[in-house]
Amino acid sequence: MKIAVCVKQVPDATVHKRIDPETKRLDRSGEATLNPTDLNAVEEALRVKEAHGGEVVLVSMGPERALESLRKALAMGADRALLVADETAAGSDLVATSRVLAAALERVEADLVFFGQASSDGDGSVLWAAVADRLRRPLISQVAALTVEGGSVRGKRQTEHGYDVIAAPLPAVVAVSDAINEPRYPSLKGIMGAKAKPQETVSVADLGLPAEAVGEAGSRTVVLALGPPPARSGSVKIEDDGTAAEKIVAFLAERRLL
């Protein structure tokens, strides 16, 4: 079985995430790490491989140094990595990013494509559905438990109302929730062997995409301005004189929270 996992390098969640006021993009110049929820996707892929055999391929789009973050997933047991490292793709929105990833995934020809839950740098829970549409594959998202059997995949999908069990034939796209598993720690042997595993870097042109299809040129949304969030309107502080509970109720009622 060929299993692909779409992963992303994101700025390390230490203090100073900032949006560069000039480019209006997230400042990614500091230290970076593998998006934490992608580890659940890698773990699930490894479990499928352990049950059914095959290989796990990491697919990612980012700067050249994203390879360092991919190594952690290779240390966990993934077999190889494909990174689309191309300056022209920087600043891609959902439309452009999904275009690039779909092209890279087509190159990999995976039976099963995994995504992790929303990334910590603001990607929202949207990438997998866009990629699945481009690949024309069935999609199961928000998966909290997964089984693969006889050419099809079955996922327990979490919604606001409860659980649905969804089945789809392979090839399919699955987006896992972080409740699905606990990612393993890489063994020391895994860490030592990670560097030697095949890591391929391709450009946008290698994927057959023109420059206008990616980056800002290929995007359909823009960031216009940045500002401070609306200050919490008139924060109120009171001391309890025996009527605090009533005052809280009045406050909540006024804001239509009751």
Partner: protein, 317 residues
């Protein structure tokens, strides 16, 4: 703006978040509703009362299961038929998948996590918080149709008392859209929402003084229809389960209402809940950092205040 608004329904009623978005869209221009799935026709007409000039409905068998891909087919066809220049979604598990699939299908820009929509010089602008709600960003679109996913509950439904015709939406199902199929469906009820889904969270910290005090919070949460959460300190002490821990090394939540009881508000906790719509803090230490970022701060004894609050909430019915 000529918008299509994706309206979800459950248990025979249109969802409040969808109706709120519809009201907003109607205030910005022309808005037509779309209702898809079983019983769509029965609920669709109601949308007229909230500002829809027309409502499209389909109960096509491909839409029977709450799955996104056939809905992408339906909306793509509708955009083409109506020439709508915007498609708006109130965020949900389903609608996020639909919106993103539609973005790829139409090569159309999608902005998500929006908390507001407005027109500036005739152009649609979205506002969204970013970087853990520490920055507010204005976002726009380069071309039509403009797709938007709006944080649920951002807008209140406004009944304008209009009426709308319900029209049948005809569309073709793509060859791959129905490959995913529903095998089993379970509704989860009573045990109350998980903290990730809850609209109301009542959270407790060290100031509770003992694990028994959590029962006070549980009563309040039950009265408010919410969930109970805990800080790292009390989870470490074994007073409440790790699954309810909110904070840097626990979960991040953004309910509409967060009531923090006996919580000092150290940043490790704050980053897990600062996105809450309204924050009420009850703490007997007037210098607790939480008073710097809550909406209503109450300096007092939670052991007195919380039970009384529960009583009053219950009395309101």
């Amino acid at each position: 703006m000529k918008a299509l608004v994706f309206l979800e329904h459950h248990g025979g009623e249109l969802e409040q978040g969808s109706l709120g978005l519809l009201s907003k869209a109607a205030s910005l221009g022309e808005a037509e509703g779309v209702v898809l799935g079983p019983d769509a026709r029965a609920v669709a007409a109601r949308a007229g009362a909230f500002g829809a000039s027309r409502v499209w409905a389909s109960e096509h068998e491909a839409l029977a299961a709450p799955l996104p891909q056939p809905r992408v087919d339906a909306l793509a066809a509708l955009v083409e038929q109506t020439g709508a220049d915007a498609v708006l979604f109130a965020a949900s598990v389903l609608s996020a998948d639909v919106a993103a699939g539609l973005a790829a299908r139409l090569e159309a820009g999608l902005n998500w996590d929006l908390t507001d929509l407005l027109l500036a010089d005739g152009e649609l602008i979205g506002k969204r918080p970013a970087l853990g709600d520490t920055v507010l960003v204005d976002v726009g679109w380069k071309s039509a149709p403009r797709l938007a996913l709006v944080r649920s509950g951002s807008f209140d439904p406004v009944e304008s008392g209009g009426a709308a015709e319900v029209e049948e939406l005809a569309f073709e199902v793509s060859d791959f859209s129905t490959l995913a199929r529903l095998v089993e469906q379970t509704q989860e009820e009573a045990s109350g929402p998980s903290i990730e889904d809850a609209d109301v969270i009542v959270a407790g910290g060290r100031g509770l003084g003992s694990p028994e005090a959590f029962s006070l919070l549980e009563e309040l949460a039950a009265a408010l229809g919410g969930a109970v959460a805990a800080t790292r300190a009390v989870v470490d002490a074994g007073w409440y389960p790790y699954s309810t821990q909110v904070g840097q090394t626990g979960k991040t939540v953004s309910p509409k209402l967060y009531i923090a009881c006996g919580i000092s508000g150290a940043i490790q906790h704050k980053v897990g809940m600062q996105g809450a719509g309204t924050i009420v803090a009850i703490n007997k230490d007037p210098n607790a950092p939480i008073f710097d970022f809550c909406d209503l701060g109450v300096v007092g004894d939670l052991h007195q205040i919380v039970p009384k609050l529960t009583e009053l909430v219950r009395a309101r019915g």
